[in-house]
Symmetry: C2
Subunit: 341 residues, 2 copies
DNA sequence: GGCCTTTATTAAAACGTTAAAGCCTTCCGG
DNA sequence: CCGGAAGGCTTTAACGTTTTAATAAAGGCC
């Protein structure tokens, strides 16, 4: 039952503790003969180094925390799932483990964003989709602990982040719809993130630059969930209050799918009577009827990159990070020239 | 930058290390005065105990691993997501953290199921939906490390598990369809798990007990993915090869939803021309058209219970665990009396 | 042969906590 | 007045690594 330790290996081989440690860490200053002898004993005893002792000595835990918001079914959400996959792969490649955290009241109240780092439980933290009101994150400005905001940022605060270019997303989708001839477009997005806000801002700015006015661009805040249900409800409100709109721009694909569902139940044909454009390009966007036109955001990739940057921060290779990733339009069947009325 | 340690607190308060340690661990043998003095200093220095040192001294990491299979989009799958939510909540309540692991080739080849425990990285492991071929799990029979199989088991092997009563699920769904008058029923399930196998076994046994014959009960193995796509494809094969069937029994709701999609594209009306019954009762089962009749499996609950049992195993309160959870039928609109032909 | 370098190994000091055992006081009953 | 117990705190030895500086041995050069 007692687990073997480094001294058992040392005793078996007739060498010192440090020799064993050096062999295990592939230090070249050890002779081939001893090296082999040690590995044999390691094999024989089925020895694995105690990571806590190692962590204590090296001041590193080889664990990263990924923090997701407190939403229902957050662990079955494609948005978070893809990002987490990217993080997992990058972390695994660097021999790190990933722990899960949810930013609920308890998390905030216990200051876990700091205590996890201060107590050396994790080497760094990744925050996915934090909301504008998550001001506890500002604590990081005063310290130098490794952390990254993934696809979110706080304007005017120096917090490390990596985001998709939501300005570009807004501009591209506006240009696409304007190019098809739409002159009155409804906007569905959450305003609980600065990315959502900059998306609607740049979309509107582009449209207004093309001659549209504010009142041609009604907006509905879908709330913090960004779900199909929220998109369905927002589409309903928007279409009922603004009969003249011929297109809907949605802050993510899940809401766009919700909008499609609403339009379907109301018998409004897409794209003939109403164009719909989404954002993210999740796998399901291919299977909707009609196929969803959308802006491609590589969620897996942003997760992977965020994790790599975090590790660079931890190793001191970089001091800060503020990176913006390009996006691109994917045209499918849900957008078309509006029917002349 | 240097983090405060227990000795800084001790020095500040003019007491010994152990006194501080005892205060931090709420030991009653310390006077109220000292207790207060120490907490003040802890607050002042914003001190958090080093978890690695604590773990080393206590021989516990306060970390659990949850292992999921190597499937595409596994972190956005409702089945795993709900179970992980349950595990997360139970672990958090016990002051434990949860790390994520994927049972891919690398995981198996590196014997991570053992090394994580032997290296004291985790206190216990939870395996969700392992497949019949995951024979590396048999290693646990020879040892006494804490682990649990969640909603899976290996007949003939003494491995801790907690499962839904798939025999009951098979029997109940069979009785429901037989009661409606169906005499020829297609079965869609994965045969890569023993739960899937026992489901189809008990379903068939019940039907045969009611006078049906083997050839009235064609079965299609949907493969290891248990996804909508797999369900759609399996339904196609089954319906094309067996025109006489009037109902489909599916191993989970996702495949049932895929089957509904196939039937819809072929213009086969549900439930008039074909009844469909699913399994799990995921949230989406309420929103399908028609609403999906299914067997309710409380996935969150099985995750929560599995984690609690794992912690009991770790604390030595129990030696083994083999628990079976009851299920119940949820009748919606996707099943009905077959049209007489 | 003496001196310097290189190579292979080790002793010992961290790393920051817990816990068993022990040491003073103080209190109490006889 | 003494023995024993209880309360409050400390001493010290783990826990199992890494790492720096030191040591010993061997080899090369003059």
């Amino acid at each position: 039952m007692k687990r073997p330790t480094i001294s058992d290996i040392a005793a078996e081989c007739g060498v010192s503790l440090s020799t064993v440690s050096l062999v295990l860490n592939n230090n070249p200053r050890i002779s081939e003969a001893t090296r082999e002898k040690v590995w044999k004993a390691v094999e024989k005893f089925s020895y694995y180094p105690n990571v806590q002792a190692r962590g204590l000595a090296m001041c590193a835990s080889q664990v990263l925390s990924v923090v997701v918001p407190n939403l229902r079914h957050v662990f079955s959400d494609i948005y978070f799932g893809e990002i987490i996959s990217g993080i997992y792969d990058a972390a695994t490649q660097a021999n790190c483990k990933v722990i899960l955290d949810i930013a609920n009241e308890k998390f905030v109240e216990r200051h876990e964003h700091m205590s996890l780092l201060k107590s050396r439980r994790v080497d760094g933290m990744l925050f996915i989709a934090s909301s504008v009101e998550h001001e506890y994150l500002f604590d990081f400005e005063k310290t130098s602990y490794p952390f990254m905001l993934v696809n979110h940022y706080f304007p005017g605060h120096s917090l490390n982040y990596i985001v998709f270019d939501y300005n570009q997303s807004g501009r591209i989708s506006a240009e696409h719809l304007l190019g098809l001839g739409h002159r009155s477009i409804g906007i569905i997005t959450g305003l609980n993130t600065y990315t959502g806000r900059s998306l609607s801002e740049s979309f509107r700015t582009t449209c207004i630059g093309a001659g549209l006015s504010e009142k041609d661009l009604p907006l509905t805040d879908c709330g913090p969930e960004w779900s199909e249900g929220a998109g369905e409800e927002a589409a309903r409100r928007l279409v009922e209050a603004n009969p003249s709109i011929t297109a809907l721009m949605c802050g993510n694909d899940r809401m766009a799918i919700g909008a499609l569902r609403y339009l379907h139940t109301r018998g409004i044909r897409v794209p003939e009577q109403m164009s719909v454009i989404g954002m993210d390009d999740i796998p399901r966007a291919t299977y909707t009827t009609p196929g969803l036109t959308t802006i491609h955001h590589s969620l897996y990739e942003i997760g992977r990159l965020a994790c790599e940057r975090l590790l660079s921060l931890f190793r001191g290779e970089i001091k800060t990070c503020s990176e913006v990733l390009p996006v691109n339009l994917v045209v499918r069947e849900s957008t078309a020239t509006p029917a002349s009325r």
